[in-house]
């Protein structure tokens, strides 16, 4: 439980840095840090395999791509305060609403949290997850490859159009 509170105290400021920092490179690095924290949460939740996938794919690949894009465009830090005002207001409004909702939930929070079932034998082990993935969820797994194929072809076509054939 101590781990949870430490994680919460570190993750929320990091996530806020992602959305509030003016320099997108800082945002990206804060995102990496947040993803790392989420990976630690996964470890705490007995999802060890997922935790490492999170770091390999998200932190190690997706954010690298985002950093490449930021650097390809050599962006200037954004001037603050000139976003669309209507959306800004809506955003802060939504955030305030959610804050209220969380307070409300906390007020009616059950004193005795849901009982924790004992976890089945080998919960979260690679073999068990792989078994589910390659038997029950085989079709989504195969479709994943099609999605990735479409994505890579689409991205290459668009990115190349920039420089011409």
């Amino acid at each position: 439980m101590t781990l949870f509170w430490i994680l919460a105290c570190v993750t929320i400021p990091a996530a806020l840095t992602v959305i509030l920092h003016r320099n997108p490179v800082y945002s990206a690095l804060a995102l990496v840090f947040t993803l790392f924290q989420v990976a630690i949460m996964f470890v705490a939740l007995d999802a060890h395999l997922i935790a490492f996938l999170q770091i390999i794919i998200y932190a190690g690949a997706i954010v690298v791509l985002i950093l490449f894009a930021i650097m390809l465009l050599s962006l200037e830090p954004e001037e603050p305060g000139d976003g669309r005002s209507s959306l800004r207001a809506a955003g802060w409004g939504a955030a305030a609403l959610l804050g209220l909702e969380l307070v409300a939930i906390a007020a009616v929070f059950p004193d005795t949290p849901a009982a924790e079932k004992p976890l089945p034998e080998g919960y979260g082990s690679v073999a068990k997850i792989a078994e589910r993935l390659f038997t029950t969820h085989l079709l989504p797994f195969e479709l994943t490859s099609v999605l990735l194929l479409v994505a890579v072809v689409g991205a290459v076509v668009m990115a190349r159009r920039r420089t011409g054939p």
């Binding site: 997108p24 990206a28 949460m41 997706i62 390809l72 800004r88 939504a94 079932k117």
Partner: protein, 98 residues
Amino acid sequence: MTEHYLVLAAILFAIGGLGVLIRRNVIVILMSVELMLNAVNVTFVALARQHGSMDGQVIVFFVLTVAAAEVAVGLAIILMNFAQRKTINADEIRLLRG
């Protein structure tokens, strides 16, 4: 324990949503979407543990893949748009409205 992680996930999701709404830099908006996806992943994993079922963890595999595809295509669109209009400001990108 599960409840705590769910609340934390909700907060992360809200932060991501806030980022989408208040920022105008498209790349930062994309990163905010990633935050929201991560919040959903935490929810999946926490609930999977609560129910002692592994399917919630398997779904995270697919969410990761979808996120990767989304970022690859999304950034390619941003790059193409930047080449034509020299902007990455979400307010100035109106491809579909002409």
